[in-house]
Point group: C2
Chain length 700, copies 2
């Protein structure tokens, strides 16, 4: 929990307040005074001075009252020294703007550790260091060196990049967009995006939480927090460093590796977080969520005074999966009564080029009452008869409080500038192109679904761990092994309910033939040796054996080949296995992400993984629903569902298998990597069989 004093202090001290307008310490102090903060503001500077008629105090001891919030714009050693002193005056929260900590490496990292210790000793929570500061518009608190203060509003924004903070603030100030809180996170020595997300989820002044992040340090806590927060409010994150080039740039910028983007993508999705791809999209989504309610239904209705932009909007809607509302006979009748005969009564509803504001108003009133659309997109191009400002007011009067999501795109620039402002001030977000409005709508629909279904996490481990698995791992690790072959891996997976083909260990050719005759059908045979991991390479695998004669001969060939190729390997015997036919090849896997822990993978095997990269990822633990989503998310899913009359695969058993490796990964952190490839899934009701598997292990 963050102390209330961070955003709602009664008194603030600025260490390093300066009367020199070129200094950051001047900017911060002046912002605090100018923003109309109603509490006490104490500037501290050993050299004295004053700004805006407020004299500075020469040291902390001279401050006459108590201090809730300390703002630091002094060199790192002075920050560390001052923390206990200000804590003695009641400080509960701090904003460390000063640079010169971890971001400069070496000595800076030492100073940052000392800062963290000082904060902890004094029970003070701090934003920063190396940041722009904190703004709470609703408390008239601007404890930052931003160039302006945004209007009060319902968008909260935190950023790991101070510069991006200034850019977004500059946009907000220029475009008249309101914010509730703005926090520049800096080096995140203490307070991280997680603390803020938790705080903001209960902040009555915040409707939507935006963030820019380059790295997240506590992946597992992040996922849990995200689930809780997004069940209350939308969270939109812009994650930089998603590609190798971006990650290199991020790394040379922050000095830390960003982790795998597929893990971030999986975690964002599982946590219900909406991911913006660009700064512009971040801002676009912010406006939509801040100003409009969620769409009560997916269907979109478009009202326009021109065909072209409406076609482009319809194209975008179809591309990204938003259905256009059907115009019901009732609606069509009411529209016909309102519109000239050449108007189009389809969706998009084209009220044609000579529409003045009153025609927009009449049509939108009709649309307001129609239940078929959950959202309305109002398009306008400035033509001869068009009345942009009046139309903006008509849109507001007809659709405000309709319960639908209302978005607008007034195209052009000069003639619509004023109308755009009217819309925005009235609470209807306006986008320069119809395509951007439709994309915002998609995110709002996605978030409504997230809220509807919730994002229950997977089962955390906690049951009794299978002793046999613990024994296999302990034994292998004690012998210095870092890789488990098929037999050990199979033992572990079988303990978790995984099914393998029937198999019998044969020590002689007679045993092999007996096993085959007992099994019937077709058999595969594989050498069993703890020292032979790559069986094929020593001639240790034979497939499609159909007769006792073949099996007997194969036993001899396999063992003599293995003896020849791996003369020093201990040969336990030969495994005679049932051949699995009539199934489809899958791959299941897990590896550990440094931030998020076990990352589960699923896909169809062979070319689907290796050429087409058609695989999906999730962070463990996964819920049953998440596991089912994984199965349906691959492009080749129709092959499992029963494409072209083929039998549907046993999807349920794939879901079980994913849940099983999810549990196993959490139960045994010694398993670093896990690869079950191939797995054959059989037709519905017949389960799946793992054919080959291996694991990498390490002391946990």
């Amino acid at each position: 929990m963050l102390p209330a004093e961070l955003f709602h202090p009664k008194s603030v001290a600025v260490l390093g307040a300066s009367r020199n307008p070129g200094k950051v310490g001047h900017g911060v102090f002046a912002n605090l005074v100018r923003s109309g903060f109603p509490g006490e503001v104490y500037g501290v500077n050993p050299a004295g001075g004053e700004v805006l008629g407020r004299s500075f105090y020469r040291d902390i001891g001279a401050i006459p009252g108590s201090v809730d919030l300390g703002v630091f714009v002094v060199p790192p050693p002075s920050v560390i020294e001052a923390i206990p002193l200000l804590a003695g005056k009641g400080m509960k929260a701090a904003i460390v703007i000063s640079a010169g900590f971890k971001e400069i490496g070496g000595e800076g990292a030492v100073l940052e550790r000392a800062l963290r210790e000082a904060l902890s000793a004094a029970s003070v929570r701090a934003v920063g260091p190396n940041c722009l500061g904190v703004i709470n518009t609703h408390a008239k608190l601007n404890a930052s060196f931003s160039a302006g203060t945004p209007l009060p509003g319902s968008i909260a924004f935190f950023s790991q990049s101070g510069a991006l903070c200034t850019a977004i603030l500059d946009w907000a100030v220029g475009a008249g967009i309101g914010f509730s809180k703005v926090v520049s996170l800096g080096n995140k020595a203490d307070i991280s995006e997680l603390d803020l997300m938790e705080y903001l989820s209960d902040d009555p002044e915040t409707r939507v939480i935006l963030g820019y992040v380059e790295s997240i340090d506590e992946g597992r806590r992040f996922l849990q927090t995200a689930r809780e927060v997004t069940s209350k409010k939308p969270v939109i994150l812009l994650k930089a460093g998603a590609t190798a080039a971006g990650a290199r740039a991020a790394s040379s910028h922050t000095g830390c590796l960003a982790g795998s983007d597929r893990a971030y993508s999986a975690a964002f999705r599982q946590g219900g977080i909406l991911r913006a791809e660009t700064v512009e999209e971040l801002c676009d989504l912010a406006l939509g969520f801040a100003m409009q309610p969620a769409p009560p239904a997916d269907q979109l209705l478009i009202v326009t005074n021109a065909g072209g932009p409406a076609i482009l909007a319809a194209d975008t809607a179809e591309r990204i999966g938003i259905p256009l509302a059907e115009v019901s006979p009732e609606l069509r009748g009411r529209l016909r009564a309102t519109l000239p005969p050449t108007a189009s009564l389809e969706n998009p509803v084209d009220i044609i080029g000579d529409a003045r504001a009153d025609r927009y108003r009449e049509v939108l009133k009709v649309v307001r009452d129609d239940p078929s659309a959950g959202s309305v997109l109002v398009l306008l191009t400035p033509q001869t008869m068009t009345e942009p400002e009046e139309t903006a007011r008509a849109v507001l009067s007809a659709l405000s409080g309709s319960g639908k999501t209302v978005l607008a795109s007034f195209l052009g620039e000069k003639s619509v500038r004023e109308a755009r402002t009217i819309l925005q001030n009235g609470g209807i977000p306006q986008y320069p192109g119809p395509e951007r409005a439709v994309r915002v709508l998609r995110a709002m629909i996605a978030y409504r679904r997230i809220r509807e279904v919730g994002q229950p996490g997977g089962e955390e481990p906690g049951g009794v761990l299978p002793a046999s698995v613990a024994a296999i791992l302990r034994d292998a690790l004690s012998r210095g092994m870092r890789t488990l072959g098929e037999e050990d891996s199979r033992g572990i997976l079988e303990s978790y309910g995984f099914r393998f083909p029937r198999h019998v260990l044969a020590r002689t050719s007679v045993e092999a033939v007996a096993a085959f005759e007992e099994m019937g059908g077709e058999a595969a045979m594989k050498i069993v040796s703890p020292e032979i991991l790559h069986k094929t390479e020593v001639g240790g695998v034979r497939l499609n054996l159909r007769s006792s004669e073949d099996v007997g001969r194969a036993f001899l060939e396999i063992t003599s080949s293995a003896r020849r190729m791996a003369p020093r390997a201990w040969i336990t015997g030969v495994s005679v296995q049932e051949m699995v036919t009539g199934g489809r090849e899958l791959i299941l896997g897990m590896n550990r992400d440094p931030q998020f822990g076990p990352l589960l993978m699923f896909g169809l095997g062979g070319i689907h993984v290796e050429v087409l990269q058609d695989v999906v990822f999730r962070v463990a633990p996964v819920s049953r629903r998440e596991a089912a989503e994984m199965v349906r998310e691959i492009r080749a899913y129709p092959l499992l569902a029963g494409f072209r009359g083929g039998e549907p695969a046993d999807e349920e058993s794939i879901v079980e298998a994913i849940l099983c490796i999810s549990r196993l990964s959490l139960d045994f952190p010694q398993i670093v990597e896990l690869d079950i490839n191939p797995v054959m899934v059989l037709p519905k009701g017949r389960g799946l069989r793992a054919i080959d598997c291996r694991m990498s292990i390490a002391e946990a």
Copy 2:
């Protein structure tokens, strides 16, 4: 060829000029006068009147001089009546603004036909009807009812939507962007986008051609024109109605079907046309191409005063395939000498947050001389020490005329507004987000490549047509057949050099066995009957036959099964075919697009086509290079190239096969649809074999 008088008249008559400011005829006349057009402007109105001190003439006869260009704002019948009269006064070109033609259907379509005849009889070329008009800024000619006149510039724009024209003009006027020519195409009764593209390709005042189209009527001429025009200038088109929803909207708007989007995509690509996805992208690209030279190399260098936006730019660059320039040791040395020690000398070059204009200038001068980058993206976020306007001037002074492509993104709004204008007026395009700038760069790189390699069209047909093919088609059509089965289709394809497995028609089981023994290996057998198209359904196909005994028995089984299942079908015999093994399954096809003619398709067979939709299209005729591009464009191409040590497929033979169906489709328009599925491609040097094929035919 368009008459010069359309854009460069000496005298203009406006029929329907009006003194009523609410009328379109007023707007057009006033625009002509106000735009400073130096020639004569004659307003014609039977009721007389005057505007801006210029009296109207009561009829055409009263016009004192000759008329080069007629502008029509009168009802359709009056337009048609006036054309010969104005032609008598010398009119060579017309702009028909009036609505009430084809777009209203029925009677309007009749009037449009009459208009076309009148134009043709008078040898007058016309824009419209149902349009906004025409603007030529360099001749100070605004013959439209637009709300403002854009500045002179080098961007030409034509639009099938008048409303989109007004929106783009409004943007241009508001943002101070210059245009050379703006043409609202309206119903395209006479002049189409093709005429304009041809004209603009030789227009010295135009550097880049933009267009918004909903449909293109002459697909084949379009492709040819596009190839010629794009070899001279970039053409960027926004095509609306790309999806089913969009096409429905377009159809209810223009009354005509837009045709298949895959044909448009193929034709745009083959014609070297860049396709914008949104209005915003259209404008973004226009600025880049109008203001900056093509990048001499692909590598991008990013210079920034903040890490965050630079990481986002690097992410976008990697995602869309633009390499970041390596910082050479020389460049690094020179940067180090210029920059403070905490700056990043990697790419992105981070000159850090306290950079003033002079630091930008010094660094950009160093960058200017470095040969490794073909383009430079300058990023700025407004921080405390930042000097946006001065920095904009520094960018201009350091990089203007550098030969590199220079783009900028100054983030924020309030603090950078003025700086953005400075950049734009100085000829450096500025984008609100770094990602948009990077996307523009991708298009500019793509266009440089288009220019480098050219877009030679495929061989047009013209040789001697195989008489055997003509005979097969004539014979089938005369018998009323609409589908050709395997045997006839194979006959046609073999005439074009297509290879099939060896096959022998056996009339008895003895002949079948003899054929098999001659062939050796494995055989397939298929019933041959002109009346049985679906061979498998009558038990008429057997595969993997390995012995004479099997072949003999199969003959009897196939023929008796076919006699039982299709008792009235004439059975020619049974085809004994060599089984093709060790190949990879492909599909080749063709169908005729109403606009663009034969559309060729290629992909891997089976799930690649049917589940993964991994197929590519091109309009015939294709060149050898285009055919080779098709092969490499599918996602699964690695499977052909020799994935994981597999043998590479005989790519050359696939290219030949594509060229072959390209020629065939053009030689014989009677072939409406063609499907060769599967085709087996063998390893390199061994060619391919068509296994099954069929065609749909119709009288040409």
